[in-house]
């Protein structure tokens, strides 16, 4: 997989040779190393969890892992696009808060569920577009622009409501979290998925295809490698960068739908710190924070690592839930530092 999906690097293409040189192959290995590490960590965590607490490798734990983290997977796919270009989107958590509060209130006000869901997704797109325009047309740094959108979305959500808004029990939006049995195990040990999980899987597949098989995806990698080179090559840099922030916002809107349907309520403080989770998922999955290298599937593994970590913390019971953000932040820092060490080593090899 790593060979076929290896992104174009920013360096000038060498003479056309049918076989990649040794250093090229080494480079590909190095860029995939964090993803492989994340996969190993995931497998290691499953083995450790099974050995220490038991009841990890069974249908209901694994399907709960997917059901409870489908929104995070969706966010991570969107953020992969953004981070691959060397940008960042800090607004995703706040976008979810605004979108879900607005959606629940509209639905309770008698709107057709399809219309409410559509508005929820479009709110995400619109806020993504605002970030994109600020960044692309007004030269605002991505983290400042998306920070402003984050405060804006959080503020708008607080304007709508500051108390938990409960979705009506008979609302059709709740059907999106209906559990579909695939394998009927003994007692509660069933393999179940929800429409939310299906949405996440579809988004992962589409994201993978777009990123690795289309011109748009190639442009995303090229911008991350070197924006200047991409512009000089005549690639549609402006449209692409605008596009990725709209994609990230839209996926945040979809994540809001998935999360709200599962929880059945929304509040203005929903999603505080989710931008950190999503960034951590992407970075754990092997995408460089500086852009240009990374994989969608890696981000999925990253999201699952974080989800499994939560399961293990709950099972353990000795670690307080307040520690979760500290641990997530610590893991993120370790991986970012690992990236820098690898990047420095690669620079050393090239020199």
């Amino acid at each position: 997989m790593t060979v076929t999906t290896r992104p174009p690097t920013g360096s000038a293409p060498g003479p056309a040779s049918s076989r990649p040189s040794l250093s090229d192959r080494l480079g590909a290995r190095l860029s995939a190393l964090p993803t492989v590490a994340a996969l190993l960590i995931f497998v290691g965590m499953i083995i450790y969890g099974e050995a220490a607490y038991g009841r990890i490798v069974q249908f209901n734990t694994l399907s709960n892992l997917l059901v409870n983290n489908s929104h995070l997977i969706i966010l991570a796919v969107g953020l992969t696009f953004v981070i691959l270009t060397g940008g960042i989107d800090l607004s995703v958590g706040a976008v979810i808060a605004f979108s879900s509060v607005a959606g629940v209130m509209l639905s309770n006000a008698g709107w057709h569920p399809v219309a409410a869901v559509l508005v929820m997704v479009l709110i995400g797109s619109a806020l993504g577009l605002v970030s994109g325009v600020l960044i692309q047309y007004f030269g605002v740094q991505p983290f400042i622009a998306t920070l402003a959108t984050m405060f804006l979305a959080r503020g708008l959500a607080s304007m709508l409501s500051t108390v938990p808004e409960r979705l009506a029990d008979d609302s059709a939006i709740r059907d999106l979290a209906a559990q579909l049995k695939i394998v009927d195990g003994d007692k509660v040990n069933d393999l179940v998925i929800t429409p939310g999980v299906i949405a996440a899987i579809v988004i992962v597949v589409v994201g993978f295809t777009v990123l690795h098989r289309t011109r748009f995806g190639r442009t995303v990698y090229a911008i991350g490698g070197s924006e200047q080179s991409a512009t000089l090559m005549g690639l549609p840099v402006t449209a692409t960068k605008l596009g990725i922030y709209v994609i990230s916002g839209t996926l945040a809107g979809i994540a809001a739908v998935v999360y709200t349907s599962r929880l059945g309520s929304a509040q203005n403080i929903t999603g505080i710190g989710w931008e950190l989770d999503a960034i951590a998922a992407v970075v754990i999955g092997g995408t460089l924070l500086t852009g240009g290298t990374g994989f969608v599937l890696g981000s999925v593994v990253g999201a699952l690592v974080l989800g499994l970590m939560n399961v293990l913390i709950t099972r353990d019971g000795g670690i307080r839930p307040e520690m979760t953000t500290i641990i997530t932040g610590g893991i993120l820092l370790v991986f970012v530092i690992l990236q820098r060490v690898l990047a420095a080593r690669r620079r050393g090899e090239q020199a």
Binding site: I88, L90, V130, L134, Y137, F138, G139, V140, Q141, F143, I144, A145, L147, A148, T149, F151, L152, R154, G155, L156, S158, M159, T162, G273, E275, L276, I279, L289, R320, E322, M323, T324, T325, I326, T328, G329, G330, L332, L333, V336, I337, R340
Partner: protein
């Protein structure tokens, strides 16, 4: 007097273009709105028994103290083209540490001083962690401080065990609620700290070096500026100032609210800095501007409450102001204005010879 007036007239263009000037105008406008609602708004009372001044203006000054602290810290960080998203969380950690310590101590002044030292020490250490991650490890500032922003609130919850701790210590509370010559101690302290920072950075080459890092970190290194130690210092200073703000914020009620103390105050700090004319792209900063920005935010918060406007709308309004100010700072909008000004000058020139 006429000399000053003529100098003001000569520099009118420069003053009008200075963003801090617009901050002052905004403060005056907000106060004017309050006066329309209640003509006695600006009145300052004097209590003969205690010798305290009282009134809405004094309240505004008192409320501005924590904002001034984090705004000045943010100002220095932004000058190096960094950002510190963790100020609100460092505030709550400092508050949590002081309340937890004071809860188990006698209410003596010595204990208050000890607590203050420990709380500020921990706040500085958290700032230094940011600084090390940015300067030595070389992470982007927003990532390191974002981690600290979210982990910091976690740390505060771990310290208090998830509770909102309350404590009693008159000396500690005096920091926030006391008066010296009729003026709140908290405002005098914050002004003294602001003045100290101003002297340190503007009466030495320090401020220039910070701006050099913000303009071009490579060029500044070649010019002999010690980037690493300066960045470490700036982030530590921001942590220390946030710690002071946290002490101010918790000492006034002697309670730390782990989910609300300092919540979203990084928004206020960034807004104050931007209102003061400091560019978020780095390379220049104005401490005076940040002070005006901080006073404006305190005035705005008080006005919103006074007018009975739902306070939930203020964060969105502040965010929109940040977006607008960012737009005004952007190259594209500046060019637009410059072109229009150039066009106007041109048309005037064409008229004159005719």
């Amino acid at each position: 007097m006429t000399d000053v007036a003529s100098r003001i007239a000569a520099n009118r263009g420069a003053i009008v273009r200075n963003q801090a000037f617009w901050g002052v105008i905004a403060i005056v406008l907000l106060l004017a709105i309050n006066v329309i609602k209640d003509p006695g708004y600006l009145a300052i009372g004097y209590n003969d028994e205690t010798g305290h001044l009282s009134g809405n203006l004094i309240d505004i000054l008192r409320a501005s103290a924590p904002i001034l602290m984090i705004a000045v810290g943010m100002c220095l960080v932004v000058a190096t083209s960094g950002i510190d998203l963790s100020v609100g969380s460092i505030m709550v950690v400092a508050g949590a540490v002081s309340m937890e310590l004071l809860r188990g101590m006698d209410g003596t002044a010595g204990n208050a001083a000890l607590t203050l030292a420990i709380a500020l020490g921990i706040a500085t250490a958290l700032g230094a962690v940011n600084g090390i991650l940015v300067s030595v490890v070389g992470l982007q500032p927003f990532i390191s401080t974002l981690v600290m922003m979210l982990a910091g609130r976690g740390i505060a919850k771990v310290i208090t065990g998830g509770q909102n701790t309350t404590a009693d210590n008159d000396s500690f509370a005096w920091l926030a609620n006391g008066y010296v010559v009729g003026i709140p101690v908290v405002f005098l302290l914050s002004m003294a700290i602001v003045a100290l920072v101003w002297v340190l950075v503007r009466r030495s080459a320090l401020g220039l070096m910070l701006e050099a890092i913000g303009m071009d970190s490579r060029a500044s290194r070649l010019a002999g500026v010690k980037r690493r130690s300066l960045q470490l210092t700036v982030y530590s200073a921001s942590g220390l100032l946030a710690g002071v703000a946290g002490v101010f914020a918790t000492a006034s009620v002697m309670t730390v609210d782990v989910s609300r103390t300092g919540y979203q105050l990084e928004l206020d700090a960034i807004l104050a800095v931007v209102i003061g004319g400091t560019s978020l792209a780095g390379g220049k900063f104005s401490i005076g501007g940040a002070v005006i920005g901080g006073l404006l935010i305190a005035t705005l918060d008080k006005t919103v409450v006074f007018l009975g406007v739902p306070a939930s709308a203020t964060p969105a309004f502040k965010a929109i102001v940040i977006v607008v100010l960012c737009l005004l700072q952007s190259e594209r909008v500046r060019n637009l204005f410059r072109n229009r000004r150039a066009l106007r000058a041109q048309s005037q020139k064409e008229v004159v010879p005719a």
